[in-house]
Amino acid sequence: MIMTEVFLNNKYVGKVTNGREFVDSLRNQRRSNKLPLSLNLYYNEDTNQAFIETCSGRVIRPLIIVKNGKALLTETHIEKLNKGELKWTDLVEQGLVEYLDTTEEESALVALRESELTPDHTHLEISPIDIFGLTSSLVPFGNYNQGVRLTQGSKNQKQAVGFYAANYFSRMDMDVNLLCYPQKPIVTTITNELTKMDAHPTGQNVVVAVMSYQGYNMQDAIVINKGSIERGFGRSTYFRPVISEELRYSGGLTDEIGIPDKDVKGYRTEHDYRFLEDDGMIYPEAVVAEGDVIIGKTSPPRFLSSLEEYNLAQTSRRESSMALKHGENGIVDQVLLTESEEGNKLVQVRLREQRVPEIGDKFTSRHGQKGVISLVVPEADIPFTSSGIKPDILFSPHGIPSRMTVSHLLELISGKVGALSGRYIDGTTFEGEKEEDLRAELLANGFRENGTETLYNGITGAMYTAKIYIGNMYYIKLKHMVANKIHSRARGPIQLLTRQPTEGRAKEGGLRLGEMEKDTFVAHGASLLLKERFDSDKTEVPICEGCGLVAIHDARKNSYFCPTCGDNVEISNIEMSYAFKLLLDEFKSLTLYPKLKLKSQIAGKTRQQAEAPQKEGVEE
């Protein structure tokens, strides 16, 4: 007799004679509430092992139990549920519904719909949308789509600018966007209701026409109606905090929040401190821009232990105010004076900035059809329907065929029906309203049943020969806005070590012309252009022709001398990149002797050496 091995939470605990019977009896005990409902069982026939799982961290989900091809949860139960005579916990207690984890799912055969039940089935989904995640099931008519589009659609929704919390006014959140006039979607899904998404909407219902507009909405770009923007479409507020704390240091010294004295080390200009009140904090509603100080603060000097002896502490306090960095601006929204966990004085200032949609802002529908505004058209120039409706957004028809987002088209038509009939449309995946019904309703409303309408050119007034697909959709503004990303540089800060331009937007950096980009210049033979591009760190270095090392230029006497060969040698100024000079210095620190042989010393020896030095490594 082969015995079944039993594992409890993947630890071997013993053997039983019949694994299947053992697992079944345990399962029945769980269903009759003798065992915890989060206990899961699995019998593996191939390896003849039984697994019992009770540990935490497993994802479990409810399913309706099926016996002999019939769901245990019947219409009568549902009626009672609706009347409030039964509760969810009753269903679980009565053994009608149970929770399965991924292990037990291995041995379950789950039917998606009640009509599909056969005697082999062990469970039934409560609703077919249970196979989706939370955000995926927010996509209306998701069952008409390719799977990838659902994932993309739900990913986009996670980046939405919406109404994230009703108490936003009393919060000090970092980097928060708030949509100014959020709306409930006309086309909803059941998840919208269940998760109370209506209390936290993420977008607005707009009129969308699927057409091109002077080629401006090529690729995935969208053309937007300026009138809609002026009426508040896509308008959002951006909040950003500025925080400063009065830190305590050893020796009883502390930071001090207040307007810094003029003798403080690193004092800015009086102009920069103009918004500060006597307590060193800015006042609300101040309009601030780059460089303005928000919170004035001074810190005790560094290395204070050595300075204490001379008692110079007061004079050499450091300025450590919080000021707006490069490219930042806004309006002071709220100033909060409080205490940190350590009991230090803490100032939090919230800056507010209104973000009106502009060219480059990113918008999306709920179907992964994201795009960037490429043109804001005056309302007068927007195409209009025969009834005078002007679309808010012109969406390119080329986005549809290759992506096959049928749900996008369906939402547009159902949105139109919803707007005309004045009701919300259920677009729940698998269970939404039928396309035929929607078309019939549209026809009954006096529109073409396929959703198209005759449109007229907004500029010339001429009728378009093609019928334009136009309707209502829920559009979402995404948190990627140009205002946070725009960046350019002509001259600017450089790094101390290499004298090359800094990197990144925050540091007003340059865009790197990298190794492969360099190669393209070389391949074109654009040698001198390449040199010019790499001139960002060029320097002139005096080189001693005697020893081939860097010489010294005494600017006061305007004389050159070499520290090793004295001042009786020929010294030439050589142009090179500072990075190369640094390399030579690093060689020297490795006790290598990088001797530069200048062209004058080897005249006529080789081609191509304008001022090019030669390098020689000599063992030291």
Binding site: L529, F580, R607, Q614
Partner: protein
Amino acid sequence: MRAELRSYVGTLPLKILEDLDAELPDKVSDSKFKKIMSTVVEEYRTSLAEPGECVGLVTAESIGEPGTQMTLNTFHFAGVSEMNVTTGLPRLIEILDGRVEISTKMMEIYLKKPYSEGKDIRQIAESFKETRLKEYIKEINIDIAETEMQMLLDEKALKERNITQGAITKILVKAMKGLDVKILKDAGIRIKASGDDALGLIYKLKEKLKEVHIDGIKGITQVLPVKRGDEFVIVTAGSNMKEILKSDVVDKSRVYTNSISEIESIFGIEAAREAIIREMLKVLKDQGIALDMRHVLLISDAMTMSGRVRGVSRYGIVKEKPSVLARASFETPIRHVINASMVGETDNLNSVIENVMINQPVPVGTGLPMLVTKPDKKAKR
């Protein structure tokens, strides 16, 4: 070649002249001939690389760019029935690295006349295939008491390969020096070990014995006769050019292996250069990548110009670069700098990378031409 064309030797390459000779009709009027030739010469000149053209970098870019697309379909197996051949990017890397041991060696063996028509093709193919002792053994028994091993040979297999029990015993005596090997009745072989650890030895021997090479050509693990057109060709997995060439039935002028190192050691560097070109073009063609052949020529030239096949790596052609700075800028910089300092190397700054480093015009394209003046001594003020 006709006389008129001879005068163009030096102006045009021989290959073009030969082609012209073949293509031109027998009688061409003088004026027409001149016109044709001037067009040919002009066309030839325009297709030459211009002075200062950065051919190396263009080659690198031209191969590198489609190479990024190749990574997507890395392990694509094309080949004859059951044989898997490395193609695509892994094969390209293999070739360019100048690797001696490649992942799938292959040979194409063309045969001499009666055999190429299919005579005894199976037997010939089988005779090339390497066999090991394990393929002839039915059973191995180890007698612990006697510290001996008894093998029962598979008579059917022996017959198929035309090998006698005696021949195998002979090989075994040679391979198992100092052991007592005896022929038994009924296709059996007995091997007896003696000494202190006789039993341990027997057990170790067992595995070793199985791998003893018996027959065929070492290294050739699979053979497959294939019909190419009118002719039978034996395609093999594994390669051993040296041994194959010893066979009498093989057409020695057409045998081919994809192992560049074998070609190099047997036929020399020019053949290896040709093999690199062939193998690279084959990979690129398989992947549907259109690449000008001159890029491939340049690479194979660079790889073989030292007289040995050198890979495009820090141990290969990069090591041969004359400039210290150029070598140091490509992997393991410290080692190159230290070594250069020990011998007091001079860098003449003649190439691209060095000049980019010190921010000087690179000597290609517009950076190449220089103004050379010899100041007139008399005109000196």
